[in-house]
């Protein structure tokens, strides 16, 4: 066989394979009814962990599609922190009907930069702790307090924030960069609440003296902790549920400070210029049903907003931490940015 023939055969084979694939798609679509093509598209913007195959997104969207005669089209941002910018870019070319995953630290900017629809959602059966965090335009769908997660087999010697900073124990902390990670930003909120009478500069000096690494994302920091590169990680209390439920490992615990802990709440919201606004609202209501809340809890490893869903599950037995009130957690974007800049100034030294 000449090389010309061989290259020719290979090219023909490539074309054949592609023709078969595209032909198969065309063939499999032939029986679909006309309705299949006129279905409404619900365009959803969310972040990767929610839409990941092991996250709650895929199964929720699939179940919703069955009942709504619609198709959920997904735009995924790599991090929750990029949702607002991705939304602005996406809106230049198309529209977005629903945004899933903004957290309370992003709401101030979300409200100032964009317009959102006000929603009326029934809140009976909700956890009381969450009610005060609900806004007219932003509906919480899950939440979890944040603290230091550690291994019981490697106990720690501090019980309050002051002892945490003054600890003589040689501990390695996996923290997150507050510029790129929401838990990282929450840690800074916690610091200003844990040491109210102390200047933030002084608190930062003490934090910088710890053996702490500021990693770019929560997943990287948790990976460090899992591979024992760190003794403690700043994470969700509900992280314990993953270890207990999936790994059957009860060796993990969280630090409990009587001063309180920050809370991360994730929201669903509908931009003002939505096209399938009713469908988007139906999805929000659907995701607040008991069965959906259970899926969110078990796949996102966060507490559901419906209080009763945790009953009889591993989430019911997780440590209950005192939570910082909304007023305590409230910090303007400007002040938070100032604190981050102070930290940047210190790490550069």
């Amino acid at each position: 066989m000449t090389p010309q023939k061989l290259v020719g055969i290979l090219s023909a084979l490539t074309v054949l394979i592609f023709s078969l694939v595209f032909g198969w798609w065309a063939w499999s679509s032939r029986t679909l009814s006309r309705d299949r093509w006129v279905k409404k598209d619900l365009i959803v913007l969310s972040y990767k962990s929610f839409t990941s195959p092991v996250g709650p997104g895929p199964s929720l969207f699939k179940e919703f599609e069955k009942s709504c005669n619609c198709k959920v089209d997904l735009i995924a941002a790599s991090d929750a922190g990029q949702l607002l910018e991705k939304l602005k870019m996406a809106q230049e070319k198309t529209h977005v009907d629903l945004v899933i995953g903004l957290d309370q630290l992003q709401l101030e900017r979300a409200l100032s930069d964009l317009k959102w629809k006000e929603l009326k959602i029934e809140t009976s059966g909700w956890d009381e702790k969450i009610l005060e965090f609900k806004k007219a335009q932003f509906i919480p769908y899950d939440w979890a307090p944040l603290s230091f997660v550690y291994r019981k087999s490697h106990p720690i010697d501090f019980k309050n924030p002051q002892e945490f900073l003054d600890s003589k124990q040689k501990l390695r902390f996996a923290l997150q960069d507050p510029r790129t990670s929401t838990p990282g930003a929450q840690f800074f909120v916690a610091l200003s609440n844990w040491f109210p009478g102390q200047s933030f500069d002084l608190t930062l000096d003490k934090v910088m003296a710890l053996d702490a690494q500021f990693l770019g994302s929560w997943s990287a920091s948790y990976g460090f902790f899992q591979t024992r590169q760190a003794d403690l990680v700043f994470s969700y209390v509900t992280s314990l549920a993953y270890h207990r439920l999936i790994e059957g490992n009860d060796d993990f615990d969280v630090v409990s400070f009587s001063q309180g802990h920050p809370l991360q709440i994730e929201y669903m919201s509908i931009p003002e210029n939505c096209k399938q606004c009713e469908l988007a609202e139906s999805f929000i209501k659907f995701s607040l049903q008991e069965s959906s809340q259970k899926q969110i809890m078990e796949k996102n490893f966060m507490y559901p907003v419906l209080k009763d869903v945790v009953r009889g599950t591993v989430f019911e037995d997780l440590p209950v931490l005192k939570i910082l009130s909304m007023d305590q957690q409230k910090m303007s974007d400007h002040l938070r940015q100032q604190n981050i800049e102070k930290w940047v100034g210190k790490i550069k030294k």
Binding site: V7, K48, T51, L74, Q229
Partner: protein, 486 residues
């Protein structure tokens, strides 16, 4: 006319990401001058250190490879040493950290990033330098050592002077890879190591950040183009012979290099077995695997296929001094820019996304592959083509009878590398595709959802799949080469 048309097509294809970026992204914004200057300085300083250390350790690794006489053992050792460059960065970084923390406290920050880069690229540089030593030194090494020269003298007077250009090229390669790398500074930079890409990443979360990221990508394009222009002047054809380089081989260096690479992989063994035990609790993975495997297969084959096409066009259109110089000096922008440009341009359905990813990856990879895999050998054939032309051979005869038979193995290597990198890509695929469309993205999703062990398990599957694909392309091109000769 036909050949001119092909040359224009090649140029247009390689420039297309830049056109798309201009068309689909907001105008570049470079207003943060102070921060940008600082990030630029950090990027250049860090990349210089990473490149210098990689070169030094790579040279030792190359001496280690010189001590291997069996071709089969050499092949396996080369693959083992190169493994860190195409495994996911988080996976490699955690392995390196696990390994190095046994030796002492890991220095997070600037030096941490340099260590991660060096550990990742030293194996690849070892192989590049070893190949250069093998093909360039001729019989001089044997003669020198028979004449009584010590290994140090041979290195100082024969190896280093003749490797000068390869050393410069390797330095530039690691410099470029470090300059455009995001994972290491983001993960172990400890907030201090703010390089250009890290700064762009921070900006992507701020209002108007995409315009800033776009501006940064153009700064990188300018830097990379200068490096490319410099490199395009630093070349001379490789001598097509292999010599007995065992005489300068060092078993100690070989043991250290292999030991490090094996230890890197072995640190994940525990996670692999834990992943196996977790499989029964994650039955949904089995449902996702066919789709992810299909996606990987499509993206990697598209990338390898388009690389094959681009390689054949570039070979068919050569020798052409202007085109060669242009390809050597062109540099594709960072993956982030190509990814964003392709994502925002045109339809975003599943089929289009896969097509965009495969084609985007091959266009991003091709200039590098041409520079490092095809160019030297293609230049070595210039005289043969010249003589054939004088004797009246037409372009088609030159391609089928002279160029293709002698270049087929290099083309196969280029396609295999494109397949390997495309199959394991997170950066560009992560922007264009959804989280479960390829195996690499599925692994990344699992990593971001506590399942580190399970992702280690799937990583092994990805490695096997990648090697099978790479083997397929090298075999096909080998057969084409053999058939052309017979």
């Amino acid at each position: 006319m036909k050949i001119h048309g092909l040359r224009v097509l090649l140029v247009v294809l390689l420039l297309s990401p830049l056109f798309l970026a201009i068309l689909s992204l907001p105008a570049p914004n470079l207003s943060h001058k102070g921060d940008l200057t600082e990030a630029l300085f950090m990027s250049v300083y860090q990349s210089t250190m990473s490149a210098s250390l990689s070169l030094l350790t790579g040279l030792f690794g190359a001496l280690g490879l010189c001590s291997i006489s069996s071709k089969r053992v050499l092949g396996w050792t080369e693959s083992l040493m190169m493994s860190p460059i195409w495994l996911p960065s988080l996976f490699v970084i955690l392995s390196i950290l696990n390994l190095l923390t046994h030796l002492g406290r890991f220095p997070f920050g600037f030096w941490g990033v340099v260590i991660i880069h060096t550990s990742t690229y030293f194996g690849f540089i070892s192989v590049v330098l070893f190949r250069a030593i093998q093909s360039k030194m001729g019989r001089q090494l044997e003669v020198a050592l028979v004449a009584g020269a010590s290994r140090y003298q041979a290195l100082k007077w024969i190896v280093i002077p003749q490797l000068k250009i390869d050393l410069i090229k390797s330095f530039c390669l690691v410099f470029v890879l470090s300059l455009t790398g995001l994972s290491a500074p983001l993960l172990v930079g400890n907030g201090i190591s703010v390089t250009l890409d890290v700064f762009a990443y921070y900006q992507l979360q701020a209002p108007g950040g995409l315009a800033v990221a776009h501006g940064i990508a153009w700064i990188e394009v300018v830097i990379l183009t200068f490096i490319g222009l410099y490199l395009s002047r630093q070349n001379h054809p490789r001598v097509q012979q292999t010599s007995h380089v065992k005489v300068i081989g060092s078993r100690l260096m070989l043991t250290l290099s292999i030991g490090f690479s094996v230890a890197l992989i072995a640190t994940n063994a525990t996670s692999f077995f834990k992943g196996l035990s977790l499989l029964q609790k994650h039955q949904e993975i089995f449902l996702l695997l066919p789709g992810a495997l299909f996606g990987t297969f499509m993206v990697a084959n598209l990338a390898a296929g388009v690389t094959l096409l681009l390689s054949l066009i570039s070979i068919y259109s050569s020798p052409h001094r202007g085109l060669r110089k242009w390809i050597l000096s062109i540099s594709t922008p960072s993956y982030v820019l190509i990814g964003l440009a392709l994502y925002y341009y045109g339809p975003r359905d599943e089929v289009s996304s896969i097509l965009k990813t495969g084609v985007g990856l091959s266009i991003a990879l091709f200039p590098g592959l041409y520079r490092w895999v095809l160019d030297t050998d293609l230049e070595g054939l210039r005289d043969q083509v010249h003589i054939a032309r004088i004797q009246g051979a037409n372009v088609s005869q030159i391609f089928w009878k002279i160029l293709l038979p002698q270049m087929s193995q290099q083309v196969g290597l280029a396609c295999a590398l494109a397949f390997l990198w495309a199959a394991g890509d997170f950066a560009l695929s992560g922007i264009i595709l959804r989280g479960d469309q390829t195996l690499a993205l599925l692994i990344e999703s699992l990593m971001s959802a506590y399942r580190l062990e399970l992702s280690t398990l799937l990583m092994s599957l990805l490695v096997v799949l990648s090697l099978v694909g790479a083997f397929f392309y090298t075999s096909v091109c080998y057969v084409i080469g053999r058939k052309s000769i017979s």
